[in-house]
């Protein structure tokens, strides 16, 4: 994973020389409906809303999801063991009587649960919702943090 970051361009989407290839693979996988993770196992994405990006640094896992039009009160985040569950609903707008020209946005309930790859500190999970993006910061448990080993 680390070797993929040779060069850190400031612009997102151009993190490494291979990110464009990753992107292309993802798009092709989506097209043929057989997404796989990096090790070639079928990916866990079950086509469940919301779509989630999971990243990590040394101390934390980060979960991000795009939830436009969902307020914090409409969201419920639960954590058990190594699992995180997000449930909520997106309210149908009030002006139902009006004549619609286009309806592309979806409304209704959603719920999604997933397991993190390592142990976490459940008491220190932090979630923020800003501009329609939910960010959950999950501190890793001591066991899951990488330890540098001194060479004598």
């Amino acid at each position: 994973m680390i070797t993929r970051r040779w060069i850190d361009f400031p612009a997102f989407g151009f993190k490494s020389p291979f990110s464009d290839l990753d992107r292309m693979k993802r798009q092709l996988d989506q097209l043929f409906g057989q997404a796989t993770d990096e090790k070639g196992y079928p990916a866990r994405r079950a086509g469940v809303f919301p779509l989630i990006n999971l990243t990590e640094n040394k101390n934390n896992y980060f979960i991000r999801a795009e939830l436009p039009g969902v307020s914090a009160e409409e969201l419920d985040i639960q954590s058990t063991d190594r699992n995180i569950a997000i449930t909520g609903h997106r309210e149908t707008p009030a002006d139902e009587s009006a004549g619609y020209h286009r309806r592309e946005r979806e409304f209704g309930r959603f719920s999604r649960a997933f397991t993190l790859p390592g142990e976490i500190e459940r008491d220190k999970i932090d979630a923020t919702l800003k501009n329609g993006i939910l960010t959950i910061t999950i501190p890793k448990a001591e066991e899951a943090k990488p330890k540098q080993i001194k060479i004598r």
Partner: protein, 136 residues
Amino acid sequence: MDTTENKEIQVMGKHEVAGPAEQTKPGPVFVPAVDIYETQENIILTADMPGVTAEDISIDLRENTLTLSGDIAPYESADEEDIAIEYEVGRYFRQFTISEVIDQGRIDANLKNGVLKLTLPKAEKAKPRKIAIKSD
């Protein structure tokens, strides 16, 4: 009991723009999902643009083409490694042709929780007028 409130939201992958013109900035560009509806006085457009702030959004109505675009600041910090990526992040761009005459001076835009709500008031002459029929 299949009301919209109880409906499960289906995943709709973000739709990437295959624009007529090449973009000047690198990175993917997406089409925001929109609802457009019309009331007696207004045309109301709501667009899902998660991650966009009010400063980064631009709305432009020229002739009868409405252009929506939104820039996004990267919100991943540099030291983060990807584990599972299900969606891409990028700018938003979409254009509409508006057939109705719009009162440009009173256009109102409101951004809340990543949803842009644009109220386009119809100009006087485009409003439906009830015609009273007189009978003797």
